[in-house]
Amino acid sequence: MSHYLAFLKKEVMEGFRTYKVLIMVLVFAAFGILSPLTAKMTPVLLDALAEEFTISLPEPAAIDSWTQFFKNIAQMGIIVVVIVFGGILATELSRGTLINMLTKGLSRVAVILSKYTYMVLIWTVCLLICFIITFAYTSYLWPNDEVRNLVFSVFCLWLFGVFILSILLFSATLVRGMSGCLLMTGGSIVVMLIISIWPAVEKYNPLSLASFNVQLLMDTYKVTDLFWSIGVAAVLSVIFVTTSIILFRKKQL
């Protein structure tokens, strides 16, 4: 436990020193501002650019802002997270700094668990910052608009991120380099995308957590329909983290 906390502290310190935390926080803050801005500006821009033929667009509403939010985070946000954390094990293994600590008795379980906690921690903080900013702008711009299941919808997106991070951790213990780790994580998302074509599996696919957020807000998708996806994502995350621990304990460094 003391190993775990000490290593977690070291990870967080390293995150600040290598500017990773700064970049993530600023990028997610920018997403938070851009989402309501895009929602508000799209009709204005289209109107200005296509003067000769009038396009009648509905007035932007809070739902447009949240559509942008979920689109940005589920696509760009996840990509940024995966790229920033792609070298979570690879850099330390290639530099050899981890081997020193491990031979001096640092527990391997503590290393894996604290790395995972660190990634989930940063993801949570970034998502929260982005959410608060978008929420503030949206409720300022459209104070009368109401959306439903907002917190639940954001929770689903958060859980999807946690799930992706567990895949990332698993890939990092399985393959050596950073590129392999990124490739494997990207590949698993592609697999989920391919599976999602099959309607029967949609209910269980973790990807549903990041693709039905807007429908949840509009109440066209039921909260209970996502319970299976939540369960599958949670169980798979635990399995991936446990397997990473087992793999890393046996790994030749």
Partner: protein
């Protein structure tokens, strides 16, 4: 500017509440990257002048690329 239907000043007046924080984020990233560039002599890839140009000219993405690809180890 009339041909596009809105002018820059009106845009700034309408959207400063978005644009100001975005500009601050962009400026903050740029300054952090520049400080780092001038404090360190070695980079993983490229030379100092190259990174200064990239960080100053490519907004937001430039500093991020520097911190991820170019940042040297002490």
């Amino acid at each position: 500017m009339d041909s596009i239907g809105f002018d820059l000043l009106k845009l700034l007046a309408d959207y400063w509440i978005f644009l100001l924080p975005l500009a601050l984020i962009q400026l903050g990233l740029m300054i952090a990257a520049l400080i780092h560039i001038f404090k360190h002599a070695n980079y993983k890839v490229g030379k100092r002048w190259m990174w200064v140009v990239i960080v100053c000219l490519v907004s937001t993405i430039g500093p991020i690329i520097y911190f991820i690809i170019g940042r040297g180890e002490n």
